[in-house]
């Protein structure tokens, strides 16, 4: 019995979710009879099952809703906001009772009188009824379940109901009703005892009904015959369609049965419900299989035994396919997370007298089910915020020259192993200035820092806890809790959330999340003799320090180790200390620069190994409460490595509390609030050309490569290399800038900075790649036509790469030998250069 109830709950919840969505859609397209029918069927199924299981309250509520719906469906009443409200309230009430059933196995004592009364009033209030012919309730409603009898006359005002005009429709009705299949068959063939009679005059064009369609499609009977039978029905023949056909000798009864059986097994067999725990176990088993496959594959490679290699390869293929397949079973369309949003938006906007249209693109984008679960709440929160703060009142929108109806757009798409979700609105956007003031007032940043921060950086502060953009607190949002939780929740599953806003135009939230949580890319490091995995999402960069380098070392700031990373103090945490291992003296220090909850810090590890895709395994309850580990994984050699929880480590090292220092105004740059580590224009790549040094904005740099001289070829008198299936032109930066040193004369290998902009990729050949510096430590002297900065006490030119490249490699014509006979300085745009 419990199993039946469990199944009933799952199905009902699904049905109600679907109803939410359908009802909101109905409000827009009130005449869509298909949606109405669908809603009706869902409610009807719930009602039927409730009666069967003896849930009287549920049945009563569902029944009252069904009465109202049947009027709508028959066109005796048209949708109105009140009706939608009442129906949505019905859904809520049903959900509430279901929740009680879920928890206590009983309905409890829900208060259903009000909702039933509301529905009854709306049902009774029947302006159209007098003019319309008495309309039937559905054949759908009648006869499938025994307890349906009398359903239609419970509400006093309902007329005694004749029945659905076209009996063939009876077959149509059944497919939404699990458990009713047995009846379905009988329907087509036996005279239905409930009387599939003819009600009013024929209203519809000849409809063959589901059974007729099926028979025609199956080729069991030709279309005309069915049409004739259908017309006969409409003319008053009381027999069901199937019976008419059989009795006219057009078809064998057995054929009808087999067609219907085929149809039934088709819909029943296409999908099955599977316990999620079973899928998880399958996923684990496949993970195991992958490991065994790896081992066997390795053996096969060593043995060079052909008889062994062939099956090993096949095993390899099959395993990969199996892995993919099992992963797919866990995928669900993102619509599962979106389905309740239209309802939410409708309720909110009505509550706030706003008008909001919701648009959803990419509903079918698939994600691992655990991730779907994890993003539901953050998404709801963002949408809630958008409707509350983002979208303006209709009159304000009109005044601003916008459509009075606001637009909320959800968009999802796959992109390279990740899923992008965008929530955008065309509302009022977020203004940076009030936020800047508020941030200073509430002590998030010092006034000095706030003044330095760009608008984009300021706006990101809404993800800080305690800071709200709302001028007033509404009961929907604005208390300043929430957006930080959104960010934390999204980051917990390895995702990121970003915000773009333009005052007066709108706001866009961009969420990036991984496809699956089960397999993540990670950096493997060793510390105190064991391997640990660091999730790649936390990783910013790697820094290596030699002990003998006095200018590049970890400094002590009254007991707190720090490192100067591009002029900013990076707090340093020794993983050995965190693990409780003995400290050691290191010749070279490896620092992994990490980000946890916006806090950047350096983690000293013993050695850095490699990046790997790891399969995340849960740990037993004896160890899973240790805060510095988030899980474990099994490495290729079968040994276990623990996955570091960077949030836990940061918290354990008191790094997260460090932000509090900033609140008191003692912000000593240990807690960069802004994202200064991001690669923006202010971060420069420092290059050496002979004794000189020049800098280029890191933002234009795609990769750093090294090619042997032998790889450099010539094309049209210009040096080129083959790079990633393309021919990439090389620019010898030294002669270009009127320095004497050519990168090609120094050694047998050439350092190349690969730059990419405007769809072009070029390589800059340089003498040496020195460092990455940020503006924080440079002194700018920008005159009108040159930009040079002082880096490490040396004047350094910042080169405008696009201008330089445009001068050497015009897009249309290519001047030959541009680099062999270096153009004078003027070749590049003057602003890009200046003498040293």
């Amino acid at each position: 019995m419990d199993e039946i109830i469990g199944e009933f709950l799952v199905e009902s919840y699904e049905g109600l979710d679907q109803m939410d969505e359908s009802l909101v859609r109905l409000e827009e397209t009130p005449d869509d009879i298909d949606i109405l029918k669908e809603v009706f069927r869902t409610l009807h199924t719930i009602k039927g099952t409730c009666g069967f299981l003896g849930f009287g309250h549920l049945e009563k509520v569902a029944h009252a809703g069904e009465n109202l719906l049947s009027l709508l469906r028959d066109g005796k009443r048209s949708m109105s906001p009140e009706i939608t409200d009442a129906l949505l309230a019905t859904v809520d009430k049903l959900r509430e009772i279901l929740a009680s059933v879920d928890e206590t196995q009983g309905e409890g004592e829900p208060d259903i009188d009000q909702i039933v009364a509301t529905l009854a009033v709306l049902t009774a209030d029947d302006p159209a009824a007098t003019t319309e012919p008495p309309a039937p309730p559905s054949a759908d409603a009648v006869g499938t379940f025994a307890f349906d009898d009398g359903a239609s006359d419970t509400t006093g005002s309902d007329r005694p109901d004749p029945v659905e005009p076209v009996a063939a429709d009876a077959a149509t009705s059944v497919d939404g009703e699990p458990g009713a299949e047995g009846d379905t068959l009988g329907y087509g063939i036996d005279p239905a005892p409930e009387g599939d009679g003819e009600g009013g005059a024929p209203k519809k064009p000849i409809s063959l009904g589901r059974l007729g369609d099926m028979l025609v499609t199956a080729g069991a009977v030709n279309r005309t015959d069915v049409e004739i039978a259908a017309v006969e029905q409409q003319m008053g023949d009381l027999r069901p369609l199937g019976k008419i056909l059989v009795e006219s000798g057009l078809i064998e009864q057995g054929v009808i049965e087999s067609v219907m059986a085929a149809q039934r097994s088709k819909s029943a067999g296409a999908t099955i419900r599977v316990d999620v725990a079973l899928l998880d176990r399958l996923m684990n088993l496949v993970g195991e299989l992958v490991l065994s496959r790896n081992q066997i594959f390795q053996l096969a490679g060593e043995r060079k035994d052909h008889e062994f290699v062939t099956p090993a390869q096949r095993l390899n293929l099959i395993t990969s396919e199996l892995q993919e397949g099992v992963m797919k079973t866990r995928m669900q369309p993102i619509n599962n997370a979106w389905a309740r949003l239209p309802r939410l938006v409708r309720d909110l906007s009505q509550q706030m007298d706003k008008r909001v249209r919701i648009e959803m693109v990419g509903k079918d984008t698939e994600l691992d089910r655990t991730i779907i679960e994890a993003i539901k709440d953050p998404l709801t929160h963002i949408v809630r915020n958008t409707v509350d703060h983002g979208i303006e009142l209709p009159e304000k929108r009109l005044a601003a020259g916008k459509d009075p109806e606001g637009l909320l757009r959800l968009r999802a798409s796959h992109e390279g192993g990740q899923v992008n979700i965008e929530v955008s609105d065309d509302g009022k956007g977020i203004e940076a200035e009030p936020l800047r003031i508020k941030a200073v007032d509430s002590g998030f940043v010092t006034a000095e820092n706030a003044a330095k921060m760009t608008d984009t950086e300021i706006v990101q502060l809404i993800f800080k806890s305690g800071l709200s953009t709302a001028k007033s607190v509404s009961n929907v949002s604005g208390r300043g809790v929430g957006m930080d939780v959104v960010k934390t929740n999204i980051e917990r599953i390895g995702g990121s959330v970003d915000l773009k806003t333009e005052p007066g135009v709108g706001t866009t939230f961009k969420i990036k999340i991984p496809l699956t949580l089960a397999i993540i890319p990670a950096l493997i490091i060793t510390c105190a003799g064991n391997r640990y995995a660091i999730p790649q999402v936390n990783l910013l960069e790697l820094v290596r320090l030699e002990r003998d380098d006095p200018n590049n070392r970890i400094e002590d700031m009254h007991g707190a180790p720090v490192y100067r990373l591009r002029g900013r103090l990076l707090p340093i945490v020794d993983l050995r200390e965190q693990l409780g291992a003995e400290p050691v003296v290191r010749a070279t220090t490896n620092i992994v620069v990490l980000k946890a909850d916006d806090q950047h810090f350096g983690l000293i590890v013993d050695a850095i190994e490699d990046t790997e895709e790891i399969v995340v395994k849960p740990m037993g309850h004896q160890v899973k409460d240790i805060k510095i580990f988030s899980g474990a994984t099994i490495m290729g050699d079968g040994r276990i490595a623990l996955i570091l929880d960077l949030m836990g480590i940061a918290a354990g090292a008191n790094l997260l509390e460090a932000t509090v220092i900033g609140h008191n105004g003692n912000d000593v740059d240990t807690t960069p609030v802004d994202s200064s580590h991001a690669l923006d224009d202010r971060t420069l790549l420092l290059l050496g050309i002979g004794p000189q040094q020049v800098a280029i904005p890191l933002a234009t740099v795609e990769r750093l490569e090294e090619f042997p001289q032998s790889a450099v070829e010539r094309s049209e008198g210009r040096r080129v290399v083959q790079y990633r299936h393309q021919i990439m032109p090389l620019i010898d930066l030294g002669p270009m800038l009127a320095f004497t040193d050519s990168a090609f004369e120094q050694s047998d290998r050439v350092s190349v900075v690969v730059c990419s902009f405007n769809g072009r990729t070029v390589g800059l050949a340089v003498g040496a790649i020195l460092d990455i510096v940020s503006h924080a430590e440079v002194l700018e002297t920008i005159t009108e036509d040159s930009q040079s900065v002082v880096i490490a006490e040396r004047v350094t030119d910042v080169i405008d790469i696009p201008a330089l490249v445009a001068s050497v490699l015009p897009i249309t014509t290519t001047p030959p030998a541009a680099e062999d006979q270096p153009s004078p300085v003027e070749a590049a745009r003057p602003s890009s250069l200046s003498g040293v």
């Binding site: 195991e288 037993g620 004896q622 510095i628 040994r639």
Partner: protein, 154 residues
């Protein structure tokens, strides 16, 4: 007070001076030589994690759990795999013994003089002819943080 728990067949093993037993139905398998990955900051009885055919299992050193001195380095411990809430856990023992059918009439509760720590984990003893066979409460042995979860110091 001498009503025996429903243990019929017992899996027995040695741990220092002790002769211990758990219900044979609790035991999933017995394994030798597994690489153990230590877990810093774990409960002191946790030896580490092992790879149990693709599943991550916690390994508990039964000596430390029962407060017996550490075993000699040259004694290679044996893993007795049990299930706890569906999760595999291995218990490190010195040597594995026979599976015994014991008469529940020989069972007796522990004396009040037994230490508090041991009383929690040892349900009682079967008085065998040669020596006492102590019955372990597996559920309590693997439950390192009974009642509420103690915060772990980092």
């Amino acid at each position: 007070m001498t009503k025996a728990p429903t243990l019929d067949q017992l899996c027995t093993f040695r741990l220092g001076p002790l002769y211990l037993a758990i219900g044979v139905l609790n035991v999933r398998e017995v394994l030798h030589h597994l690489e153990i990955t230590p877990v810093p900051h774990a409960h002191h009885a946790v030896e580490g994690l092992i790879n149990l055919r693709g599943q991550v299992a916690t390994t508990i050193d039964l000596r430390r759990r029962l407060g017996i001195p550490e075993r000699d380095r040259d004694v290679k411990p044996i893993h007795v795999v049990v299930l706890s809430d569906g999760e595999p856990v291995t218990l490190l023992v010195d040597a594995i013994g026979d599976v015994l059918d014991v008469d529940s009439f020989t069972y007796e509760d522990p004396p009040p003089t037994m230490s508090e720590q041991a009383r929690e984990l040892i349900m009682g003893a079967y008085k065998l002819n040669s020596e006492l066979l102590l019955a372990l409460d597996v559920a309590k042995v693997v439950d390192l943080y009974p009642s509420s979860i103690e915060p772990v110091e980092i």
